[in-house]
Amino acid sequence: MATKEEIVAGLADIVNEIAGIPTEDVQLDKSFTDDLDVDSLSMVEVVVAAEEQFGVKIPDDDVKNLKTVGDAVDYILKAQG
């Protein structure tokens, strides 16, 4: 089970790999679309990578609710059970 800090760090690495954004810029209040250059297609890549890294399932219908990094972190924390 990953801690909140580990999930933020993991998402930062994923966003860096996919969108080229520096990891230190990936903060809880940042919007994937508006701040991190992650469009709807790249968001699918972020989700798939996060599922793999944290051992969770994020159904397509839930992805639209993950607007900020904080939304994704909370979702993953909860989904880890």
């Binding site: 996919i18 250059d37 790249s42 798939v48």
Partner: protein, 422 residues
């Protein structure tokens, strides 16, 4: 001059090819007679009947930022690199609108490929089979669609007058440039970024072309394998890369003080309606394209001093092209310095018309025709002056050149360029 008959000029060129990462290094290699063909060292190539190709000289991953490159098929990566070079070469400092010299609503992009994002399609099918549904990239469709290079170039330069992708196999790049010329001539646009790209060096296309008996299997002599017009030629060598030009109405270029390379006199187009892959052996269709060019423009055969031939190094095609030139131009062919640059670049399929237009622009601008390499024993059926050994100086005065491109399906496209200063 009426708005439907505007003069079109070339103001920018760009290329990334098996000979170099830009147009200058490509041109230098063409003049030096260097071959871009090498042995395929990839593991997948070891058991293939054809193990040679003209691979890109500078990998696009070394040029484009990684987050951008990973969302583009290799064919679109090449196109974007060549288009950015051409755009800067034309003197533009930012995308249309941000650079006030170009109005986005008067800017077009026409970029073609013969096969489209074939490596993306095949690679993602492998991902589906081997890793499952969830791992197939969400970027697959926008990467594999054949209009992807044009669309990405259009977004990059902010082209809003229209973005197009004519597809006609190995004539695609030339047809794209011809389409762009018409956009300007008929008043739809003032500036168009146009060219061709291809990235098909992958086991399936290589095996498929090989099974058609269209490719040279001279695996032991990569640099000697592409030998247009030579008696021992036995098929083409696959190449990859892109060539792009910036076309502009003469008035628009003059108004912003742009450097003009050459004028685009026009184009001649026809179709063989003969066989899906075999060239019509007498060159009837090619001759019709040449005649259409003469009928539709003020080009005079006496002006034509250089031909960048289609000449892929196949036994039938090379001869049909020369026969057609003879049929239409007769003895005027004797003063045409014919160059087969595919002897060095390999055959870029839909990219060929792009890089060969860049080569033809530079040949006229520098008044120097590049050599044809590997011409050891000229086929006696090829009755023409094939430049070989070293570059050939072209005469002073107003001179013109042809760039020929023909494609599977029987598509024939001839572009005519002419110097604007003596």
């Amino acid at each position: 001059m009426s708005p439907t008959n505007r003069t079109v000029v070339v103001t920018g060129i760009g290329a990334t090819t098996p000979l170099g990462g830009d147009s200058a290094s490509t041109w230098e290699a063409l003049l030096a007679g260097r071959s871009g063909v090498r042995t395929l060292e990839q593991e997948w190539a070891a058991e293939l009947p054809v193990r040679i190709a003209a691979q890109i000289a500078v990998e696009p991953g070394e040029v484009l930022p990684r987050p951008l490159a990973r969302k583009l098929d290799r064919s679109a990566q090449f196109a974007l690199i060549a288009a950015r070079e051409a755009w800067a070469d034309a003197g533009f400092t930012a995308k249309a609108g941000e650079d006030p010299a170009v109005d986005p609503d008067r800017l077009g992009a026409v970029v073609a490929s013969g096969i489209g994002g074939v490596t993306t399609l095949l690679d993602q099918y492998d991902v589906l089979k081997n890793q499952g549904v969830r791992k197939v990239s969400p970027h697959t469709v926008p990467m594999l669609m054949p209009n992807s290079p044009a669309a990405n170039v259009g977004i990059d330069v902010n082209a809003r007058a229209g973005v197009h992708t004519p597809v006609s196999a190995c004539a695609s790049g030339a047809e794209a440039i011809g389409y762009a010329v018409e956009m300007i001539r008929t008043g739809r646009a003032d500036v168009v970024v146009a060219g061709g790209t291809e990235a098909a060096i992958h086991p399936l296309p290589i095996v498929a072309f090989g099974n058609m008996m269209a490719m040279s299997k001279n695996n032991d002599d990569p640099q000697g394998a592409s030998r247009p017009y030579d008696a021992d030629r036995n098929g083409f060598v696959l190449g990859e890369g892109a060539g792009v030009v910036v076309l502009e109405s003469a008035e628009h270029a003059a108004a912003r003080g742009a450097r003009v390379y050459v004028e685009v006199v026009g184009q001649g187009i026809s179709a063989d309606a003969h066989h899906i892959t075999q060239p019509e052996p007498t060159g009837r269709g090619i001759a019709a394209a040449l005649q259409n060019l003469l009928d539709g423009t003020d080009l005079k055969p006496a002006e034509i001093v250089h031909v960048n031939a289609h000449a892929t190094s196949t036994p039938q095609g090379d001869v049909a092209e020369i026969k057609a030139l003879r049929n239409i131009f007769g003895d005027d062919v004797d003063h045409m310095a014919v160059s087969a640059t595919k002897s060095m670049t390999g055959h870029l399929l839909g990219g060929a018309g792009g890089i060969e237009t860049v080569a033809t622009v530079l040949a006229l601008y520098n008044r120097l025709a590049p050599p044809t390499i590997n011409l050891d024993h000229q086929d006696p059926e090829v009755v023409a002056d094939i430049v070989h050994g070293e570059p050939r100086p072209l005469p002073a005065g107003t001179i013109a050149a042809l760039n020929n491109s023909f494609g599977f399906g029987g598509h024939n496209v001839v572009l005519a360029l002419r110097t604007t200063s003596v």
